[in-house]
């Protein structure tokens, strides 16, 4: 089972690499922000799989935190790019 988890983790790392290509290539800031959001959501799953490979429950807490921070970061980026400021008023 560990080998299957290792293969899944390597394939997720490959998809992160493809999204990183879009981050480097992508014309304009919106493509880059979207690709960074995709990288963050893939990293959540990668952290869960790492937690099962090394059998450490600590990684699940880290992945929960990463999910929250990634969501807040993307929303803040979207609001900033739309209005020029994060907090209006």
């Amino acid at each position: 089972m560990i080998k299957i988890f290792l293969a899944v983790g390597l394939l997720i790392a490959l998809t992160i690499l493809l999204a990183l290509c879009r981050t480097v290539l992508g014309p304009g800031v919106f493509n880059r922000v979207a690709a960074i959001n995709v990288i963050g959501t893939k990293t959540i799953v990668l952290l869960v799989i790492i937690g099962y490979i090394f059998e450490r429950p600590l990684f699940f807490d880290i992945s929960l935190l990463y999910a929250l921070l990634n969501f807040i970061g993307t929303l803040a980026f979207a609001k900033y790019l739309e209005r020029g400021e994060v907090w209006s008023g």
Binding site: L11, V48, D61, L64, A67
Partner: protein
């Protein structure tokens, strides 16, 4: 018994990896911003939820039979369920927010015959 569960787990993991790879290829290959988000917003959500559901099933049938497990190990399925619910709520919301921001700042959609951006 454990063999059937392992087969189901592997099928769930393979389906999740397939959807994530499809989303990443769509992100790399589609012609403009909106189509790229169309590819990744749905494929990533489904793929990640499938992978975490497979790991949840694996956890239920492998680790819950261990006697005297620690509390941190017992709480892992709760965390994984939180992750599934949060990804299902947050990932489409983030995609919608970034796409609405791009639309309001005047990013034009790609039409047939134009050059790929």
């Amino acid at each position: 018994m454990i063999g059937i569960i392992e087969i189901i787990v592997v099928i769930l993991l393979a389906a999740g990896v397939f959807f994530m790879l499809t989303g990443a290829i769509g992100l790399l290959r589609f012609p403009d911003f909106y189509t790229r988000l169309h590819a990744t917003g749905k494929c990533d959500t489904l793929g990640e939820v499938l992978i975490i559901a497979g790991l949840l099933l694996h956890h239920f049938f492998v680790y819950s039979s261990v006697p005297g497990a620690e509390l941190s190990v017992k709480l892992v399925p709760v965390k994984l369920l939180f992750l599934i619910v949060f990804i299902f709520l947050a990932n489409p919301t983030a995609t919608h927010a970034i796409m609405k921001a791009a639309y309001n700042t005047g990013e034009k959609p790609w039409k047939v015959g134009e050059e790929r951006k």
